[in-house]
C-alpha cells in the first residue's frame, strides 16, 4: 500500500504515533465505561427487584411473620392472609407435573441422544425447541378447551372407578383442579427436560459407551448402566430447572386450576397456586395489607425459584465439565 493510510502507522514518526495511541486509548476507555454502565444496569435492576419485593412486603411480614406459611385463611374481609393453601397448590401441581414429565422427558432425551441418527435427532430437537417457544397462555387456552373436558369425560371416570378408594382420586371432579393443572404443566416443562438432558447425555465421553459395548453389554445396558449414571447429576439439574419453571408458571395454571384456595388430598379438587392468586387478585387488591401479602407471596415464589435455579445450574455445570474433563 503506497498511500499513507491513517490507520497504518507502521512507519510513522514516534512522537506522532504516541499521541495517536493515547487518543485511541481514550476512545477505548470511553467505550469500556459506556458498556460497563449498561452491564452495571443489569446488576442494579436485579438488586432493585429484590429490594422492592422485600420492602413492599414489609407490612405483611411484620404482621404475620412465619405464621404466614402455616395459616390457611385468606380473607380480605377480615384482613387475614395465609400462604398455606397457595403453597400447597403450587407444590402439588408441580409434583404432578414432574411425575408425568420426568419419565417421558428422560425417555425422549435418551432416544434423541443415544439412538436416533444425528439428522433425525436434530430435526426432533428443532420441534422440541418450538414446543418450548409456545407461550403459556396458549397452553392455557388448550387446557381450558381440551384438557378440562377430557378430565370430566375420560380421565376422572377412568381413575375414580378403579382407584377411588385412594384419597388422591376421590371425587367429585369439576374438570378444573390440581390434576388438570399438573397435566398442562407437564406438557409445558417436558421440552426443558428433554433439551437439557439430551445435551448432558451427548457430553458423556464416547469411550464410556464403547467400553461398555466392548465388554458385551447390549445397547440398552450400556445406556442405562453406564451413560445415564455418568450423566445423572446433569439430568437431575434438568429436573430442577423444570421444577423451577413449573413453580413460577402463571397463566396456564390460572386458567385450569379453579382458583379456589383449598387444601385437599384429592387431585380432582379445584385449588389455587401462588402465581395464580397474584395474577387474579393483584389488580383488585384494596388496602395495603392485602397488596403486601400478595407481594409477600411473590417473594416466596422468587426465593423458591432462585434456590432451585441455582442448584440446577450447579448440577448441570458439574456434569458437563466432568464429561469434557475426561480425556477422550
Amino acid at each position: 500500500m503506497a498511500t499513507s493510510g491513517t490507520t497504518l502507522p507502521n512507519a510513522g514518526p514516534v512522537t506522532g504515533s504516541r499521541s495517536f495511541l493515547s487518543r485511541l486509548r481514550d476512545g477505548d476507555e470511553i467505550a469500556r465505561l459506556i458498556t460497563m454502565v449498561f452491564a452495571a444496569t443489569v446488576v442494579l435492576i436485579t438488586l432493585l427487584l429484590v429490594y422492592e419485593l422485600w420492602t413492599n412486603s414489609a407490612l405483611a411480614r411484620a404482621k404475620f411473620g412465619l405464621h404466614f406459611f402455616v395459616t390457611q385463611v385468606w380473607d380480605p374481609v377480615i384482613d387475614q392472609y395465609g400462604a398455606l393453601p397457595f403453597m400447597y397448590g403450587t407444590l402439588v401441581t408441580s409434583a404432578v407435573a414432574l411425575f408425568i414429565a420426568v419419565p417421558l422427558g428422560i425417555g425422549a432425551a435418551i432416544f434423541l441422544a443415544e439412538l436416533a441418527p444425528p439428522r433425525i435427532s436434530d430435526t426432533l430437537q428443532f420441534f422440541i425447541d418450538l414446543l418450548a417457544a409456545v407461550p403459556s397462555v396458549i397452553y392455557g387456552l388448550l387446557g381450558v378447551f381440551i384438557v378440562v373436558p377430557l378430565m370430566r369425560t375420560v380421565i376422572f371416570p377412568g381413575l375414580n372407578k378403579p382407584l377411588g378408594f385412594l384419597p388422591f382420586f376421590k371425587g367429585p371432579s369439576y374438570g378444573v383442579g390440581f390434576l388438570t393443572a399438573g397435566i398442562v404443566l407437564a406438557i409445558m416443562v417436558i421440552p426443558y427436560i428433554i433439551s437439557v438432558s439430551r445435551e448432558v447425555l451427548l457430553s458423556v465421553p464416547r469411550d464410556q459407551r464403547e467400553a461398555a459395548l466392548a465388554l458385551g453389554s447390549t445397547r440398552w445396558e450400556s445406556t442405562w448402566n453406564v451413560v445415564v449414571p455418568f450423566a445423572k447429576t446433569g439430568i437431575l439439574g434438568s429436573i430442577f430447572l423444570a421444577l423451577a419453571r413449573a413453580l413460577g408458571e402463571t397463566m396456564a395454571v390460572t386458567m385450569v386450576i379453579g382458583n379456589v384456595p383449598t387444601i385437599s388430598a384429592s387431585l380432582f379438587s379445584p385449588g389455587d397456586s401462588i402465581a395464580s392468586v397474584i395474577a387474579n387478585q393483584f389488580t383488585e387488591a384494596t388496602g395495603d395489607l392485602y397488596l403486601q401479602s400478595l407481594v409477600a407471596l411473590g417473594l416466596v415464589l422468587f426465593l423458591m425459584t432462585f434456590i432451585l435455579n441455582g442448584l440446577a445450574r450447579l448440577l448441570i455445570v458439574v456434569t458437563t465439565q466432568r464429561g469434557s474433563g475426561v480425556p477422550t
Binding site: 458498556t35 452491564a39 439412538l115 387456552l141 388448550l142
Partner: protein, 283 residues
Amino acid sequence: MSARVKWRRFVSNFMLTLTGLCALVCVSVLFLILGYLVFNGGTSINWAFFTQLPKPVGEAGGGMANAIVGSAKLLLAASLFGVPIGFLGGIYLAEFSGGAVASVVRYAADLLNGVPSIVIGIFAYSMVVLPFRHFSTFAGAFALGLMMIPITLRSTEEFLNGVPRYLREGAMALGASKWKTIASVVVPAAYRGILTAILLALARVAGETAPLLFTAFGNRYWSQGWGQPTASLPVMIFTYAVSPYEDWHRQAWAAGLVLLGLILIINILARTILSRGIAVPRS
C-alpha cells in the same frame, strides 16, 4: 444363542423402542397443538378480527385490532429498552470485562432470567405503575424489556466469544483501536448470532401474559397514548378464554392462532438465519 442373551436382546430392543415412543409422544404434542389451533382458529378468523375494535360485552362480532397494535407497541418499546442494555452489557462481558465484575453481572443476568414472569410483573408495577399512579403501555414494555435483557446479554457475550481470535489480532495489527476492532470487525462477524438471539428474545416476550396483567392492564378501545393502559393479544386470549361467552371463545382461538403463528414464524426465521452459512469465513 442362549436364552439369557436372547432375553437381554429383547429387553434392550423393548426399552429402546419405549424411549422412541416417548420422543414420538412429546413431539406429536406440538403437532396436536398446531392442528387444534389451526382448525379452531382457522374457522373463526375473519377480516373483522384484524380491523375492528372489540364489541361491547355480550354483543357478537368485532375484532382485536387494538390488541394487535397494542402488542406491537409493547414489543417495540420493550426492545428499545431491553436490547441496548443486553447488547452493550454483553459487549462489556465479552470484550472488556475483568474477572469479578463480569461474574457478578453474569450471575445477576442468570438470576433475572429465572425470575417467574408474574414476579417481574409485581416489580414493574411497583417501579412504574405506582409512581405514575396509572397502568400504562410503558409499564408493560418495561416488564417485557426486563425479560429481554438477560437473553440478549448472555447470547451477545456467547457469540462475541465465538469470534476467532485471529480476526481481532488482524484488526489490531492494522492499527485499529480496541473499540474500532469491536465495532467494525468483531460485532459484524457475530451479527447473525446476535440477531437470532434478539429475535428469540422478542418471540419469547411476545407471548408473555402474566407481566402485563397489572402493568399494561387491558383496554377495550384504542389506547390513548404511551402513558395509558393498552390491550395486548396475550391478555385478550386470557380474558376471552375464561369468559362465559361463546363468541369470545371463538375470538380467543383466532387470537391464539395469530399469536402462535407469529411466534413460530419468528422462531423458525431466527433459527434459519443462524444455521444458514457460517458467520465467520473459515480459512
